[in-house]
Symmetry: C2
Subunit: 412 residues, 2 copies
């Protein structure tokens, strides 16, 4: 049984991960958290103690770490005797942290695909460009590496697998829908790191349809979804990590990702993108200073963590999975609804951070209990979904289903 | 008789000034042009020769100069034996170039108010913060310094004075209206240096009404103007240099400045301003780089000079001057209409640069002939307007009037 967790990162998601690890430290053992800025981890630890999140007395320590430095990361893993690393730092760190885990023989969990600073929207499948190149070595060494174990990617991958296992004989379409019906009250803000958020949408949109990669432009295809709790919302076909593994693992079903956007977001995004201000490529000012415009946009936008106190409303994220059951067409919608204010009251973060931060802790719990200790590199849909959904139900994210029999909670 | 001109700057306006000086080098003598970047002045000189702009054989030389370096500027004035300096460099240079002129005893002409990089929209009257503090010294030394001798400020100041002298017994209202009805075909661009352009509109709006400074927000007050040639256009009350001198020199009349903006400009401006991207104050990126957002916006926007080849349509800039004549209320509209394409064909710049660049050359000609060699610091409305209008008519900007007798050209 693996125990002792090292959390990497100190943003809004890391805050949730920290609280949830503390709340489950009877299973997870010692908790360590590391980030470039020590003050940020100290703040998170203070919040954990303030909320009395530790289930039982135990270790919760903070460390300064540049996680691009593989040797330093390995030293910290060894020094803390960590056996599970939850990487919720910036997406630029994945391959460095994964290498440190592979070299020290510990389990690796992340929530988003690896990215290189100077590149966006690389050739699909995205996992093939970085993570999957380490799959054979992970299997050979018996390293558990769970990729994309946030909500989306993550829980939505488990929902697709669940629909395939339980509700359909054959899956033809997986449409993942992510709606944030909450309001932060600011003129404009992104719900997680603006740099990563905008990088998701400045390239082309890849979807998997008719067994091939399909290319669209951002905001080219919109669709109204009538959803539980949040009502009818307009969502747009977007590129997203999970499409790139489900394309391989859903037996040829079409896989599309839809995200809800209001007209105001689209207007601001369109202005910034059209002007070139979302570019990840440096420009030179008249004074000769080289600067990446996107990093300046990030600098002027509100820190996503700062949105939490005033955030109100709910999120609804789930999978419309369509296919055949007993020879007839059937669609199920498996989903979760989260509440921004409840999330803030419990762990001091808003709902988007909450939905992203709870699942990797559920995954860590399942690695600790052995149920998900795969001893190889996997995407979430390659693991049994029911224990995951059960842990999520228990630790803060309730799974529901809507089908011909109505809406109801799911557990196993 | 003063002669020999040193042009400072190498942007779109400097290009026009260079061509117009060349076209009038029988009056103006040797022409020199200096800018930080030597390559830019060489390009302008090449354009002057390509268009065969030199009226008679003569000197037209380029120089590299950091015009913030007062001693270097003095050296260049002396070395070139210049007697008139036309400063059309960035607005941050004014006080340095003025000082160099005062120390060398030559005439100074500029087209926009002095600005300090870290400040916007200072206390009115703006001229009182910098330029007018040198007025006594100019008068004592007999230095001719003509402030704001572009179109607006500049020609519009002369129009206000002309209306007061010729068409009204008492002026009650001066409404300056600046409409660019042209199209550059880009998603978004500013017609002159984006940094200076945006700085005009990110502060509050000062107007002079009821003998006091009145404060509004940008885009708070809009009004449709039905204008010659360009038709009905929506203009907004804005802050602008000329309000700050006319407030003093129009015997207590209200002075307002209106600029035309399309909805698209307003939307882009509003997004950028609301996000903080038009700020002149530095921010720090996550990587610790200090950068002024406005300078990054400038870096991603098209170079205003690059707009010229495809620019089409016309500008209309003028003064609605209202008051009493023979005991009855009367309004005259004195204006110019310029054409982007004609400007480009003649001097290689678009119409906005053309309207800004022709007037300081007209002023230089009048300094050279002695008619405007004031031997003190003046704003344009303090000089006789008729010779100015006559020279402008001759060198490319025709003045017209619209009143109860219809539209017609004006000359004296």
């Amino acid at each position: 049984m693996k125990k002792n967790v090292l959390i990497i990162g100190a943003g809004g998601v890391a805050q949730v991960v920290a609280h949830k690890c503390a709340q489950n430290n009877d299973i997870l053992g010692d908790i360590h958290i590391a980030s470039r800025t020590k003050a940020k981890v100290e703040k998170i630890i203070a919040s954990v103690h303030e909320k009395k999140a530790m289930k039982q007395p135990g270790i919760f320590e903070g460390h300064a770490l540049d996680a691009l430095d593989i040797e330093a990361t390995k030293d910290l893993i060894r020094k803390t005797n960590s056996q599970i690393v939850i990487n919720v730092g910036t997406a630029f760190l994945n391959m460095s942290v994964l290498r440190a885990c592979m070299d020290t023989g510990v389990a690796y969990i992340d929530t988003a695909i690896h990215e290189e600073p100077g590149k966006i929207c690389e050739t699909p499948p995205w996992y093939g460009n970085y993570e999957w190149k380490r799959a054979a070595e992970c299997e050979e060494k018996g390293i558990t590496a769970i990729l994309g174990a946030g909500f989306d990617p993550g829980v939505v991958n488990a929902y697709a697998r669940l629909a395939k296992d339980e509700y359909l004989d054959k899956v033809t379409d997986v449409d993942i829908v992510d709606i944030n019906a909450g309001s932060h009250g600011k003129y404009f803000a992104t719900n997680f790191d603006p740099e990563i958020n905008f990088r998701e949408f400045t390239g082309v949109v890849y979807s998997w349809q008719n067994n091939q990669w399909n290319v669209n432009k951002m905001f080219e295809i919109g669709k109204d979804y009538d959803l539980p709790v949040v009502g009818t919302r307009r969502a747009y076909l977007c590129g997203h990590d999970e499409v790139h593994s489900l394309a391989k693992n859903m037996d040829g079903a079409d896989v599309r990702f839809w995200m809800g956007f209001g007209d105001h977001y689209i207007n601001v995004f369109t202005v910034l993108k059209s002007l070139g201000l979302l570019s990840e490529q440096p420009v030179k000012t008249a004074e000769g200073l080289e600067v990446v415009p996107l990093k300046v946009v990030k600098a002027v936008l509100p820190d996503p963590a700062s949105l939490a106190p005033g955030y109100e409303g709910k999120t609804c994220i789930g999978d419309y999975v369509k296919g055949l059951k007993d020879g007839k067409e059937r669609t199920v919608f498996i989903y979760n609804v989260a509440d921004h204010k409840e999330a803030y009251e419990e762990v001091g973060s808003q709902g988007i951070s909450y939905t992203a931060g709870v699942p990797p802790v559920a995954a860590a719990i399942l690695v600790a209990t052995g149920e998900w200790d795969a001893k190889k590199m996997v995407n979430v849909e390659e693991l049994p979904p029911k224990p995951f959904i059960n842990v999520l139900n228990r630790i803060g994210l309730q799974t529901c289903i809507r089908d011909e029999n109505g809406d109801r909670e799911l557990s196993f």
